[in-house]
Symmetry: C2
């Protein structure tokens, strides 16, 4: 068992810098496309055997130091009693956006083992196969809330912020339910065998610090607080586009803070002190010519020297157009330059 990733999360010494990529099991891989060609995205998410297969693909191909459960952050929202669709091009769509007291009251806090057995089964299957740690994950409550309230993706998140600003009690009631759901969901993943947990706050970066502190962070803290009572797996919190939120994010309770590519990793490390960090190559830097890509990776590793722990990752998900050969160059470079 290669536990380099787990040790880096905990700030323990490692022989080299572990690396994995957000969305490493995904559309840039022909092997993934071939599985995905046979089923819809939601069918794939609901199928433990296929989820296991696509989760393993990038580990076998590139030698990543951690696997991440193949799923989608919105899967537990289905279990909360919402109708979710993924349409080509448009992304996720909730047929009935959550904007009223009735809609919030109708949300269910589901038992994750009962309503999402396919996720727990995927974790169990993966643990039998994997020789690297398995990361479970969820969306952060605020990010999940944006999808529920907007009914899908958004540009300015008007409806979400309007609810925050004009109906804070309703917003809090919704967030409490999402938080309970997420908390139970992550606990179930840990019980099923997830060895680390990442909380994706993909849309935290649309909030001013004052609003992040009031409307997003407390719910993350609550989830992590709950988790600490029942598991000691490392917890990663990734607030995307969150450079101005770092001073707050470091109070989340997470062991590791994920960094997007907009922040210089050295500056971030200076600010988050006693936390390990994960990141933060611009995903599109993978399109650089080999030599320049390697140079950039070397620089990033050097800049991260002062961290309590560093897990190399992209600053956001790998884009579908990325040539797999370029991913290979990057993974190999991280390993070689960091002493593997």
């Amino acid at each position: 068992m290669n536990d380099t990733f787990l040790r880096a999360c905990r700030g323990e010494k490692t022989e080299y810098t572990p690396v994995w990529f957000m969305r490493q099991a995904g559309r840039y891989l022909p092997e993934y496309q071939s599985v995905r060609g046979k089923v819809t995205f939601l069918e794939l998410c609901h199928n433990p055997e296929l989820c296991t297969e696509v989760t393993l693909q990038p580990i076998d191909i590139f030698g990543f130091d951690a696997a991440i459960l193949f799923s989608d952050i919105l899967i537990p929202m289905e279990a909360m009693n919402l109708h979710l669709e993924f349409s080509e091009g448009k992304g996720p769509v909730f047929r009935d956006p959550v904007r009223s007291r009735k809609a919030v009251d109708d949300l269910i806090v589901p038992d994750p083992d009962e309503t999402m057995p396919f996720v727990m089964e995927t974790i169990r299957l993966l643990r039998k196969e994997l020789k690297v740690p398995l990361i479970g994950f969820s969306g952060a409550p605020f990010t999940l809330a944006t999808y529920l309230v907007e009914g899908g993706s958004s540009k300015v998140f008007l409806e979400t912020k309007k609810m925050m600003f004009q109906k804070p009690q309703l917003f809090d009631a919704m967030m409490s339910k999402i938080t309970d759901c997420t908390s139970l969901y992550l606990q179930a993943q840990a019980r099923a065998g997830a060895q680390a947990l990442q909380i994706f706050d993909s849309w935290a970066g649309i909030l001013a610090p004052v609003d992040f502190k009031r409307f997003a962070l407390p719910y993350v803290q609550s989830i992590i607080n709950d988790l600490r009572k029942v598991t000691d797996v490392p917890i990663i919190y990734f607030a995307n586009n969150g450079a101005t939120l770092l001073d707050l994010s470091k109070t989340s309770g997470a062991d590791v803070l994920g960094l997007d590519w907009r922040v210089n990793i050295k500056d971030a490390i200076d600010r988050v002190g006693n936390h390990a960090v994960q990141g933060n190559l611009d995903p599109i830097a993978l399109f650089l010519p080999k030599e320049e890509l390697e140079e950039r990776i070397k620089k990033l590793l050097d800049d991260a020297q002062g961290a309590r722990g560093h897990i190399f990752n992209l600053g956001h998900g790998i884009v579908p157009q990325t040539p797999p050969d370029q991913a290979k160059i990057a993974v190999d470079a991280v390993h070689r330059f960091s002493g593997k």
Copy 2:
């Protein structure tokens, strides 16, 4: 003549904090909608009388301390020999994205007075009417380049970054032409009577600092350097979502740095030292109930006390759904709390 805005830009003492809003002449105003109902967006941009009318509307209605020329950052791109359309819902579309050597070679550096006389005429008409300073503007070269290369708006800006990373010479050649065009365009605006100039780098925030420094900032510096030789109007540089770029942005040569709402204004002021700042209320905070909106504005004004100069603004454009009454509350609050 109310020159409070100009004095704040220059870091001189003012009796109160001047305020204007990005997109203040825009869709949230019924008076604008009424003009816009009769013509297409591009027809409006090309018509000096109508541009003058819509520019004046928010000044008359709200008592803003500065007017900004009604136009679009992509107008000079038409003059560079590109076919531009605005489609409802999809935003701007360039029929033939610029991605090849031939496409770059085909770009023209236009004479702004000859190709965009309607802009200069608008400025002259406005100067006859206005009792507050008139701001001219342009897009920053990098932001303009993203539209040219992507052919419109984008989510991850893959084509732009691919060109940067894989064909840096071609990218630089394109940027040089856009820079020359922009430089001449802003100079012409100053000659026509613009009393301040804002450079909008709406998409700077998609760049890692290292790439901003290499691919975006030098072109802004070049434009400002050119401007300084021919005019002493204050220059505002707004790198949207640019909190991690502030240390670089302060070397742009601008007098004023625009701040989006993601950064705490006090932190930003600590970092940019000898610059005036402009910003930075979350545009959607205008949906707060009156009392809370006023409280937030008071806090922002307090936080900005240490600035060399502060021009109150939103952290991005006002959204079309904003009730005009809320804009009025905000403008009045800025004036009242800052001592007008």
